[in-house]
């Protein structure tokens, strides 16, 4: 009970405050920017469709203002925005009018989740495991060779590596599609969907796993080389504890602690997606969606994605804070 009063409750208040401030900032920033999406939209229509009579323009402006949540005073708009956040209904998207933003998210999100979460987890596990073992045996020849290979791979930009994979495995040796997947309105989680995600996301996932894994590898290797010099490792070695045990129970659990924090933060990025990779492989993910939303001034869409992004990152950090004592018993909630 002391835990709830002294730690959990203040931490939850802090969480809500972070979400509140974040969403408020997202509300104000485009309004400070001084663009008027309604006028822009009408200008666009006039450019495309010639003349509109003034009454039509008037009623069009009214309905657009309502759609964008721009009706009334700033305070009224702010209240409307919160209503939208709580119902998770962000109004219609502009560039795919009149599809609601929530529908777009529902279509794109599973694709990003499938690609992004799998590849992040996979690269984290592989990078940390290999980096940990290689850091522990840093004097061995194979470890030095591996380190040199990783050192060459890691700084390659995602788009270069992605295009390289596309040329090799989609063009020269067409095992995988070049991209250009067309999304249906509904996505069901069945075997067919999973296979389709796998087929289309293999190359982008490979890019992310190799490049992401390389940077996890380098971080973990450095961490392990430091942990290796700690007294308790040297003592266990002196005491003849088996190497397998030293790596699995001493080195990795201790070196991994900062990496777990990093992983949580990385997973929180799921809503902003991995834009460059999605562009290279024309993969229908959140990154691409957000990019289109930004370039076409689709305020509702941007608002929806950023709101969800704030929510996930704040929640991820909250969960991490709550479970951290399980990973490092020295941490206590006070």
């Amino acid at each position: 009970m002391k835990f709830i009063k002294d730690y959990l409750f203040p931490r939850l208040v802090q969480y809500l405050l972070v979400v509140f401030c974040g969403i408020t900032a997202v509300f104000f920033i485009p309004r400070i920017a001084g663009q008027d999406p309604v006028l822009e939209m009408i200008a666009q229509i006039q450019v495309q469709g010639g003349s509109l009579d003034p009454t039509a323009v008037e009623s069009l402006m009214k309905s657009l203002e309502e759609l964008y949540g721009l009706k009334g005073s700033l305070f009224e708009q702010y209240i409307t925005m919160w209503k939208r956040v709580f119902t998770l209904d962000f109004g219609p998207s502009l560039f795919q009018f009149p599809t609601p933003v929530s529908d777009l998210l529902r279509i794109y999100l599973p694709w990003t989740m499938g690609l992004f979460i799998t590849s992040t987890l996979l690269s984290w596990i592989l990078g940390n495991l290999l980096g940990g073992i290689s850091g522990y045996f840093s004097q061995k020849r194979w470890s030095k060779v591996l380190d040199a290979i990783i050192m060459v791979i890691r700084p390659i930009p995602h788009y270069v590596f992605g295009i390289l994979l596309l040329i090799l495995f989609a063009y020269v040796w067409p095992l995988f599609p070049v991209g250009g997947l067309v999304l249906g309105r509904r996505t069901a989680f069945n075997l067919d969907f999973v296979l389709r995600v796998l087929h289309y996301s293999f190359l982008p996932a490979l890019t992310l796993v190799i490049l992401g894994g390389a940077s996890w590898f380098q971080q973990m290797k450095l961490l392990v080389q430091n942990v290796k010099r700690e007294d308790f490792i040297q003592y266990a070695q002196a005491g003849g504890v088996k190497e397998r045990l030293i790596i699995s129970r001493y080195v990795l659990p201790n070196a991994m602690l900062p990496q777990i924090t990093q992983l949580t933060l990385a997973l929180g990025q799921v809503f902003s997606g991995v834009l460059i990779v999605e562009m290279v492989f024309s993969y229908p993910g959140m990154g691409l969606l957000l990019y289109r939303g930004v370039t076409r001034g689709d305020y509702n869409l941007v608002m929806g994605i950023t709101t969800l992004s704030i929510l996930t990152i704040a929640t991820a950090v909250l969960v991490l804070d709550l479970i951290y004592p399980l990973l490092d018993p020295r941490i206590r909630h006070r």
């Binding site: 700690e230 007294d231 003592y235 003849g240 018993p329």
Partner: protein
């Protein structure tokens, strides 16, 4: 004599290379030791004199930048002397904890901070004992802790939940789990208050009495040596200066350095200021010629800066490396 541990002419140096410049720190410089069974053998000396390095060498745990240039360490296993440096990594691993074990300097960080102590005990046991399941090993640990007067409840604690003194006693329990013949203890009481020191020393004495084994105790604290060591060696700048029974060393110190060490100890009722050795310890990288102590020695004479005195027997059971004490190379030649 029934030595359990012998060291012959150890020359073990730190080889440090900075910017292509090679520097050699002579941390253990011509050390001979015969450590008998069933004793508490003390090694005393000030900080940086090579005490800890000597223990590492005796433990046959020599890793870069430390390098053994000469010398041998012998363990007496089943009445046969075996050369510790020529053992394979696997043979060494098997002797650790069953024949020779180690209590680290400052047990504050000797245990895995993210696992319960139970796991650490099991790790050490599982690595040495074959054919027993976890339950058996755990009850063995429980039993061992009880005989040492420690509560088995500590097994469910994390290292950071114990006090420094408690952690040190747990380290002793861990290093004596498999009843080793030799225990090397590196400053086991440093960083503890006197009450905790007493408990730790008492525990070490109890263990020694029960196992009838040898504890090699390294500390700069002469009071502790006086308390529990039966024999002791005085180390200075990588060399043994004097060696004998603790009683002889304290009652009749022969080497000027030992005399300084012992006269610097406070005595009850004596209010005269204590005198310490003038100057500071020599550099191990560029040691002075001749006797290493001569720059600080009030009784030095010309020979001291020219030749190195050997450690020679002056009494039945007392050795010293000093030209002042009769039978040395000067008198032999």
């Amino acid at each position: 004599m029934n030595e359990v541990l012998k060291a012959e002419n150890l020359q073990v140096f730190y080889v440090l290379e900075t910017l292509g410049e090679k520097r050699i720190a002579k941390a253990v410089h011509g050390v001979n030791l015969q450590i008998p069974g069933n004793e508490v053998y003390g090694i005393a000396g000030e900080s940086g004199c090579g005490k800890t390095t000597l223990l590492k060498v005796l433990f046959a745990n020599i890793e870069p930048p430390l390098r053994a240039f000469e010398g041998r360490v012998y363990y007496c296993v089943n009445d046969k002397y075996i050369d510790a440096f020529s053992l394979s990594a696997r043979e060494k691993r098997e002797l650790r904890w069953t024949y020779i074990s180690y209590i680290p300097q400052g047990s504050m960080s000797a245990f895995n901070p993210v696992k319960k102590l139970k796991v650490t005990f099991l790790d050490f046991l599982e690595s040495h004992v074959r054919g027993k399941d976890r339950e058996e090993l755990l009850s063995l640990t429980n039993h061992h802790l009880k005989t040492l007067g420690l509560s088995p409840r500590i097994l469910d604690a994390y290292p950071h939940q114990l006090s420094g003194g408690m952690r040190q006693r747990v380290a002793i329990a861990l290093s004596t789990l498999l009843k080793p013949r030799i225990i090397l203890a590196d400053e086991p009481t440093t960083a503890l208050d006197v009450v905790a020191q007493r408990a730790v020393l008492q525990l070490m004495q109890d263990v020694q009495k029960e196992l009838q084994n040898t504890i090699v105790l390294v500390t700069h604290d002469m009071g502790i040596h006086a308390n529990i060591a039966t024999r002791m060696a005085i180390m200075y700048a990588g060399k043994i200066m004097e060696e004998g029974s603790t009683e002889d060393i304290f009652n009749h110190p022969l080497h000027p350095y030992t005399q300084y060490l012992i006269h610097s100890l406070p005595k009850i009722g004596d209010k005269t200021p204590r005198e310490s050795a003038p100057g500071s310890p020599p550099s191990l990288v560029e040691p002075p010629p001749g006797c290493l102590f001569h720059p600080r020695c009030p009784q030095a004479f010309p020979l001291c800066s020219q030749e190195v005195p050997e450690l020679v027997r002056v009494n039945i059971d007392h050795k010293v490396a000093c030209f002042l004490r009769g039978n040395n190379r000067a008198s032999c030649s």
